[in-house]
């Protein structure tokens, strides 16, 4: 047989090359890479969600844990340890979020930038900066800002928790969430409460400026910052509203939603609150984003944990007692679990905030030709804040996206920023 079909070893090389080449039909390399990049965080996230909440938080907080529960693997020894260890500091994680975003390709960065969890994280960063500014002006204003920041942080935390749990649940059971109307009511309630609080603090800051009691320019600067943060809070509320609008909505569900909101107002808080939130959040975005979400959410949770822990250790605030049990529980856990506290650094906060802003909004040299703009519009994903230039490469645009870009303002030579109004 070998005489009629002489065997040529090179033929096997050809066949080997052929099977490799044929894999292009089967594999989505970029999707695989995205998962590989986030999967280590995903694994940790999934693991902690499979446990009780205490165990889960310990897995995230890690180094502060003294209870002997299982912890994530420690960083490697040597130089790498010192640098990866930076992820245990709030500054390290904040920076890491921006770096992670920056490391994404343009299209995915463009898609991820609007995720509510990321929006909430930016809001918390803003509040941290505002609070530091306010310390220079007026301590009572600072205390009120602290309260607002706490609200923002609680909102961010809830979003992060919800997304985390939802993703786990989706992976584990493929189930759909229940009580979306309840979620809608509570999410909006938190966002609007935050917006109202911001209003008050903005008024305070402006009043301070007018009174001349303090440095006017500084106070006005704070007011502007608060205004910006409030716009974000409003946008977040709108996001939530928009997201839940994808779900079935009728008079009955609205009624149930209001009842759920009242329930929440009364201070009751179910343990599985977080479990009820976020299918709609993830459903509303293209699938690949959820993969990033898994990574981002883990980082956000750790950042928020550490941020909370730092502040509670340094400056316990008695007014916290008025907050809901969920938040008090967070405080207790953070007190227990946070040991290596980081000294806040205003410069670092500014840098992190700017880096995050660039990562989320700077598309001046981006190639977005494969980006999906179908969701862009007044009732969809917002382009507000996106900076672009003549070098930005856009896909074919639906009218809604075209309209949003028309509302851009020129901010430099050939540079534009999308505004929410003409």
């Amino acid at each position: 047989m070998s005489q009629t079909h002489p065997f040529d070893p090179d033929r096997l090389s050809d066949l080997h090359a052929a099977t490799v080449g044929g894999l292009d039909d089967l594999l989505d390399v970029e999707a695989g890479l995205r998962e590989a990049l986030v999967a280590d965080r995903h694994t940790a996230t999934g693991r902690d969600l499979g446990l009780d909440v205490e165990g889960g938080l310990q897995a995230i907080v890690g180094p502060g844990d003294q209870s002997g529960r299982p912890r994530p693997p420690e960083p490697k020894e040597g130089n790498a340890a010192a640098r990866t260890g930076s992820l245990r500091s709030p500054t390290g994680i904040r920076s890491h979020v921006a770096r992670l975003l920056t490391s994404l390709d343009d299209v995915n960065r463009f898609a991820v930038r609007v995720h509510p969890a990321l929006e909430a994280f930016a809001l918390v960063l803003d509040f941290a900066r505002i609070r530091d500014s306010a310390l220079d002006i007026n301590l009572s204003l600072s205390a009120e800002l602290e309260q607002s920041r706490d609200s923002a942080r609680a909102l961010a935390r809830a979003l992060a928790d919800d997304l985390d749990r939802e993703n786990y649940a989706a992976f584990a059971r493929g189930s759909r969430f229940r009580d979306r109307e309840y979620s809608r009511a509570t999410d909006r309630h938190q966002a609007l409460t935050l917006a109202r609080a911001l209003d008050r603090h903005r008024d305070h800051a402006i009043a301070l400026a007018i009174s001349g009691e303090h440095d006017g320019a500084l106070a006005l600067g704070v007011a502007c910052d608060i205004d910006r943060a409030r716009a974000r809070a409003d946008a977040l509320a709108l996001d939530l509203d928009r997201i839940y609008r994808h779900e079935h909505y009728d008079r009955d569900t609205e009624s149930r939603g209001y009842r759920a909101g009242s329930f929440y107002d009364g201070g009751s808080f179910e343990d599985d609150y977080a479990f009820k939130h976020a299918l709609a959040l993830t459903c509303a975005f293209p699938v690949p984003i959820n993969r990033y979400t898994l990574h981002l959410v883990g980082l956000l949770r750790r950042a928020l944990d550490q941020d909370l822990g730092r502040d509670f250790e340094r400056d316990p605030w008695p007014g916290l007692d008025r907050l809901d049990p969920f938040y008090l529980d967070l405080r207790d856990r953070d007190r227990r679990e946070r040991l290596d506290l980081d000294v806040p650094d205003r410069g670092a906060l500014d840098r992190d905030s700017e880096a995050l802003d660039r990562a989320r909004h700077d598309f001046t040299t981006a190639d977005l030709r494969t980006a999906d703009l179908l969701w862009v519009g007044p009732h969809g994903i917002s382009l507000t804040g996106v900076r672009w230039s003549d070098d930005t490469r856009w896909p074919d645009m639906p009218d809604s996206a075209r309209q949003a870009l028309r509302w851009s303002k020129q901010i430099g030579d050939g540079l534009y920023e999308v505004r929410d109004k003409p």
Partner: protein, 173 residues
């Protein structure tokens, strides 16, 4: 690849890993196919291996060999009845690396050589997979913890068996 790498929280590290992933993922899937895995398993195991690689990126000195070694072990730990595409429930559970859950069986059929390779003993398949990924007998011997003579013998037997199959079945793609 022996250079000291940036830590995992540096963008340079992500870029480094990403470049490696893009360069090697097809080869790794193919390596597993030649080792005898079905297409779905190959994609799944390759992806798992790459995730492990990312997690341990700072420690891996020779990632190209490392991923093959780890993937090989993962494959050898698979239960015997799970190494075919038909046994895999795809749908939403498929690896994101797989562009589609459809047509895997057809794809495998198009590459008849894979079916012929599957008839060989595992050791011979392993030696073939390493060999056609460019490794020398001594390197393969180190990886498989056998002698280089055993590697050469396995390779010779595998080629002879495949030649016989080619002879019986005519042209093979």
């Amino acid at each position: 690849m022996d250079d000291v790498r940036e830590p995992a929280d540096e963008p340079a590290d992500a870029a480094d890993f990403s470049a490696f992933y893009r360069q090697q993922i097809r080869a790794l899937v193919n390596f597993l196919l030649w080792t005898g895995a079905g297409a779905a398993d190959a994609a799944e195991l390759a992806q798992e291996t790459m995730i492990d690689a990312h997690r341990n990126w700072l420690d891996i000195k020779c990632p190209r060999a490392w991923i093959r070694r780890v993937a090989s072990r993962k494959f050898s730990r698979l239960k015997p009845n799970t190494n075919t595409t038909a046994s895999i429930e795809l749908g939403d559970n498929r690896s994101p690396l797989l562009a589609t859950g459809q047509g895997l069986a057809e794809w495998e059929q198009r590459h008849e050589v894979l079916r012929l390779l599957a008839m060989l003993p595992l050791r011979q398949r392993e030696v073939m997979a390493w060999t056609y990924d460019g490794y020398r007998p001594q390197e393969i011997a180190d990886e498989l913890n056998i002698s280089s003579d055993a590697v050469r013998a396995s390779l010779r037997l595998a080629r002879r068996a495949l030649a016989a199959q080619f002879g019986r079945e005519g042209d093979v793609e």
